[in-house]
Symmetry: C2
Subunit: 290 residues, 2 copies
């Protein structure tokens, strides 16, 4: 049982912090920008709240952050009331935000000045994975630090991997999102094509889903896509944020991503259709619009 | 045990006809444009050969065709020495070629004039699936005819589905190829991105392959892609043929396929790199070319 702080109680962070308290059995202090949500969390799970990130993180052995983007992350870590202003030497800062590899390296350096260790640890599995405590966690950092953090992270995860030095967790998450961009656009075009031809999409998926065209997205989203329901997962606004990170990184590492760049534009069309909160499978709605 | 003819002993047809003889226990007569290959087949499996498609198909209860494209298919069916010139009334013509839905409907009409039944039955699973007798077969036709043909098709298949009226098998195969186009380009961009960032691709796949980015292609091709080996499956020349069929059909059914059209162009680049016989995962080589 460790002393843990959790900063950022969004749809992901709220249940993740809950698992650290309930499944992990840790002593958890939380902070959230909207204080009412932190109070809700404490009322539900019985932990304590801090008025600032620094206050929540004081004396913690492990500090988790899970916020919106690079700038939010800087604010709650290296900002005036950020966690690095209060964290004790030897503690570990674990960032679950999907952010740039650059900010991960920046935070590693800032943490080091305080004698704090840093791990970037973005997750996949979405809201359902966070609620079930079965997320996949992609970590970047040093092996010895990872070995200390992993048993704590396990409280909300099914799979926790160390991918390489700091930044590698974010780069792995980027690979994940690139794959999804291609799969979902291909699947959307296939379903659109099938519907235009009068095929029974369920029947088609029964036959082709175990072979070379098969994917998690096909198994888990074809039915709702066929019904035009797009409220079953990760939102388009968040996907665009992630693809922005990917495309920015590709300028740095020299990768050519023509499909990813195109699909990012397609998601822009979906936003223009009012689909900001639709899930990523709504690329199909874009093909079907009149 | 039925009387069966098999027309077209390419990398797919040769083992498929073999399974009809050995696993199905049928009396099989074969025809191949290059007669030597038909003689090889007969020597290996103990069937008979015909000098023309019509000769092989005479008296057969089930006639299979598995040739290169729409024109080859017309030649071996409605051509002067095609199977429809000799097939008996009540027999069933089963086409395993990946062809257009249009030629399927054309052959159904031509067969009907002779009292012959028609099923379009393109396959997926590649050369390995054909050799193992574990193909997926997507059929279009009437239920009663399908019910008669399925036990015979089972000799080379793991999964045989009736998708709808004639043409539906081809349209289903097209959906399959559209999905693959998106998955493989996305996967190629992800691996390219990961290599540019110095990630260990094996490690990444271990962590992300069971989640939302997962696909058959990731499971089965990431290792050879990472090694730059592109001789493990369906060739680029054949994929371009299939995508041509898809894009032509999209003009008919009104489906919008921006990604599929783009990936078709990318495969054109791979051909220009000399990759005609590389497998479909060689989209990665295109991204990596200097």
């Amino acid at each position: 049982m460790a002393k843990v702080a959790f900063i950022g109680l969004g749809v992901m962070g709220f249940p993740m912090a809950g698992h650290l308290k309930q499944k992990g059995g840790h002593d958890v202090a939380v902070y959230n920008r909207t204080a009412a949500k932190a109070a809700d969390w404490a009322a539900k799970f019985g932990g304590t709240t801090g008025a600032t990130p620094a206050e929540a993180a004081r004396d913690a052995d492990f500090v988790f952050t899970c916020v919106g983007n690079d700038d939010d992350l800087r604010s709650v870590t290296t900002g005036a009331t950020g966690v690095l202003s209060s964290m004790k030497a030897g503690a570990i800062l674990i960032d679950n935000t999907t952010a740039s590899a650059e900010v991960a390296r920046e935070l590693e350096a800032a943490a080091k000045e305080k004698g704090v260790h840093f791990i970037d640890a973005p997750v996949s599995g979405g809201q359902a994975g966070a609620e079930g405590g079965v997320l996949t966690v992609m970590c970047g950092g040093e092996q010895a630090i990872f070995d200390k953090a992993k048993p704590v992270i396990d409280a909300y995860a099914r799979m926790v991997g160390l991918m390489g030095p700091v930044g590698s967790g974010q780069l792995t998450k980027m690979m994940n999102q690139i794959c999804i961009a291609g799969i979902v656009q291909g699947l959307s075009e296939a379903i659109h094509f099938g519907k235009q031809s009068g095929l029974d999409i369920e029947k088609v998926v029964d036959v082709i889903s175990k072979g070379a065209a098969g994917s998690w997205q096909m198994e888990n989203r074809h039915k709702t896509m066929d019904q035009g329901k797009y409220d079953f997962g990760f939102a388009v606004d968040w996907m665009r944020k992630d693809l922005d990170i990917v495309l920015t990184e590709s300028r740095r590492n020299g990768a050519k991503l023509p499909l990813t760049a195109l699909v990012d534009q397609f998601y822009g069309d979906v936003q223009a259709m009012g689909g900001n909160r639709w899930d990523t499978s709504s690329l199909l709605a874009r093909l079907e619009r009149k």
